[in-house]
């Protein structure tokens, strides 16, 4: 009995020793900052002063009644929808195409994955130039093919700035979903497709009735990733528009940055960060639970 208990303890210690580095890293870079942010959200600190008096729930009340924050939240939701359609949808289409490639598969996969390895700041600079109203590739192409009427200041118009930056961000992110979905597609038993083909199913019908249902679990994982990544969107926005023009591309993350470093309201920024985290967990948590139960 003691020997069994001793063995179990030893097994546990061995297991913990393997986990310990990751636990330490998560604790240092996730848990501790999270707790500090939570602590800050109940204080009034400008990021400079030695004093940070406690203000109770004032920051939360101020935040949730701040029209600017609510507008940023709305923009972030729109950003997620665009991300879903372009990045996830685009990744799915590319995964389908890549799964059918016979020759040069590795080359095509490498090229298709390339945008994902580019730094977000570089992506912003590249697309900032593409969207340049006078010398950018997009307007130059439109002008060259006789579509001058569509030539536009894409990042300067509040109506087009958010979708334009979302396109840039989706271009950078689609490969992530493509890889996951491609792995899922390749794990589908080919016999199922063959059976469908024997029954006379077209390509579209096979995708709709075989591929997508078979990718159910993979798609739900991808949706969660897309949701979390969309709510983390900052890098591409900041490097293309810095949240402008005006507040047209001010996502919640940009709002947090501006409050912390430009407005000197670090506590307000911490509060917004906590609220953002709660929103993400509140959506992702139940979604994952239902997925685990097979209800999705």
């Amino acid at each position: 009995m003691n020997r069994s208990l001793g063995n179990r303890l030893q097994d546990g210690l061995v297991g913990f020793s393997f986990l310990a580095p990751a636990v330490v890293v998560v604790a240092l870079f996730v848990i501790v900052p999270l707790l500090q942010a939570g602590h800050l959200s109940f204080q009034d600190w400008d990021g400079l002063s030695a004093e940070a008096p406690y203000v109770g729930m004032t920051n939360y009340i101020t935040l949730l009644t701040d029209g600017r924050f609510l507008a940023a939240l709305q923009r972030t939701a729109i950003w997620f929808v665009i991300h879903l359609v372009l990045a996830v949808g685009g990744g799915f289409v590319l995964a389908l195409l890549l799964s059918e490639v016979r020759w040069g598969r590795t080359l095509f996969r490498t090229v298709a994955f390339f945008p994902f390895v580019i730094s977000l700041s570089v992506v912003g600079v590249i697309w900032g130039q593409i969207y340049n109203p006078s010398s950018g590739l997009l307007n130059a192409t439109l002008n060259a093919v006789g579509l001058q009427a569509f030539s536009h200041a894409w990042l300067g118009d509040p109506g087009t700035a958010l979708p334009a930056v979302a396109v840039a961000s989706s271009w950078q992110g689609y490969a992530f979903y493509m890889v996951i979905l491609l792995a899922g597609i390749q794990s589908i038993d080919p016999a199922i497709h063959e059976a469908a083909m024997v029954d006379g199913a077209s390509t579209i019908q096979r995708i709709r009735h075989v591929t997508i249902p078979s990718l159910h679990n993979t798609i739900t994982v991808v949706l969660i990733f897309a949701f979390i990544r969309a709510f983390h969107g900052f890098g591409v926005v900041w490097s293309t528009t810095t949240g402008g023009p005006g507040t047209a591309t001010e996502l919640v993350t940009v709002y947090i940055w501006r409050r912390a470093f430009q407005s000197g309201s670090v506590s307000q920024a911490a509060t917004a960060g906590i609220v953002l985290g709660v929103i993400v967990v509140a959506v992702a948590g139940p979604f994952n639970r239902r997925r685990d139960k097979g209800a999705l």
């Binding site: 400008d46 900032g128 109203p133 912390a260 470093f261």
Partner: protein, 432 residues
């Protein structure tokens, strides 16, 4: 040294400097404060850590300082300490920050660090070195007006903002330098008719919007009035301020500036457009010409002027003032060496290095015979002979500056009115 937080910001922040051409020269003086520094090195080797912008002269300056201060080794970490990105704050609060930082000057940035007790009081240094005789009187007045007379920054860069224009494009359109507001607007129309972008502006960079905004306010608001606004004795919602915003609105709704294009590009792209003869005018300080030199663009093709006032406005006034300042970390462990550096940067030896490199116009009085680079000559004349209006970005604190930039950006894209712009800035100033 924890310099991991240093990161390059998107372009330079407001840099303002002033040069004078008086005949007296400064000399390194040994004072009661400096007895153990300038004339002799502290015992043992000392490592003096400095962080901030690197310039063409930085390496030579470090070398010269080390040569004249045996026993002190300078570690200069180059990077843009952008206050709006929280970099100097993080460095100073880390407890392991550099001894000296060079960053955006003025009460809105360096001043905020001083208010928080993160940087040291340099008033005694100013007295001991008689820096009041080294710096322009207006600059000293502004420094002494802050925080009950406590001076916590050593202004390094002093500059002036104006409108730079392409002489050839003006000649092609049959234009002279506009001497009135109406002439400026008419010039824009003529340039637009000739197929040239009249004025380029990159408001994606908020501070670039601030440059033009500052130039417009300088011509619409008197210096005395602006002083009251800056030091919170008057509201920003003044009719003269609103007129300045109306002038920007007129530039945007008229032929001068294409709002959506201005909002879509940053200052780098607008400068490129100006250098490539695609745009005839751009607002900025002498770094417009310094950047042109760095890009191998012939600066003799460019001229400059201040925005003429609109009807009811005051005299032609250039905006500008303090740009970058040295500050001393309040927790520096090498205080003597740091003070030695701060004293040395006002000496002829250092100033000659800066002038020879053509990096910028130092705030301190130039040595005898020092000749500014061609790219800086015109600004040097302005700083020597003209009274400067304020560049609000350097004087407003965080929320105020942010509101100032956003008001200008929103005005450029037609989202708000001039009155709403002034109100938004005033609200931010009050909340801060």
């Amino acid at each position: 040294m924890v310099i991991a937080v240093l990161m390059a910001a998107c372009g330079s922040s407001n840099d303002e400097g002033e040069a004078t051409t008086t005949t007296e020269s400064t000399s390194t003086e040994t004072t009661t404060l400096m007895e153990s520094t300038t004339s002799q090195a502290p015992d043992g080797d000392v490592v003096l850590r400095i962080a901030g912008d690197g310039y063409a002269h930085t390496a030579a300056a470090v070398e010269a300082f080390e040569a004249s201060h045996p026993g002190i080794t300078v570690e200069y970490a180059e990077g843009n300490l952008n206050f709006e990105e929280g970099v100097p704050q993080a460095l100073l609060q880390s407890g392991q920050g550099p001894d000296i930082l060079i960053l955006n000057a003025g009460p809105g940035r360096a001043g905020e660090l001083a208010k928080a007790g993160l940087t040291a009081d340099l008033s005694e240094l100013y007295d001991d070195l008689d820096l009041a005789s080294v710096y322009p009187e207006t600059l000293m007045n502004q420094l002494e007006a802050q925080y009950g007379g406590q001076i916590s920054e050593m202004v390094e860069v002093y500059s002036a903002f104006q409108i730079y224009y392409n002489k050839a494009l003006f000649d092609d359109a049959g234009l002279d330098e506009p001497e009135s507001w109406e002439a400026l607007v008419e010039a824009c129309q003529s340039l637009a008719d000739s197929g040239v972008e009249p004025m380029t502006l990159g408001t994606r960079s908020g501070f670039a919007a601030g440059w033009l905004g500052g130039v417009l306010l300088a011509s619409s608001v008197s210096i005395d009035e602006m002083t009251e606004i800056i030091y919170e004795e008057a509201s920003f919602e003044q009719p003269d301020v609103i007129r300045g915003f109306e002038m920007l609105e007129e530039l945007v709704t008229g032929p001068c500036i294409d709002g959506p294009t201005a909002a879509a590009i940053d200052y780098n792209q607008s400068f490129a457009s100006f250098y490539n003869n695609q745009a005839a005018m751009v607002a900025g300080n002498e770094f417009v010409l310094i950047g042109a030199v760095d890009s191998d663009v012939d600066i003799s093709q460019f001229g400059s002027f201040a925005i003429p006032p609109r009807d009811g406005g005051g005299d032609v006034v250039y905006s500008g003032g303090m740009g970058k300042s040295w500050v001393l970390n309040a927790e520096s462990t090498e205080r003597e060496a740091a003070l030695a550096w701060l004293a040395w940067v006002t000496t002829d030896e250092y100033l000659n290095i800066v002038v020879d490199a053509g990096s910028y116009i130092p705030a301190a009085r130039l040595p005898d015979g020092a000749e500014l680079a061609p790219s800086l000559a015109r600004t040097g004349e302005i700083l020597a002979n003209e009274e400067l209006g304020y560049n609000p970005s350097n004087y407003f604190s965080g929320a105020g500056t942010q509101a100032w930039y956003e008001a200008l950006q929103s005005l450029v894209i037609g989202e708000i009115t001039p009155a709403e712009a002034a109100a938004a800035v005033q609200q931010a100033l009050e909340s801060n």
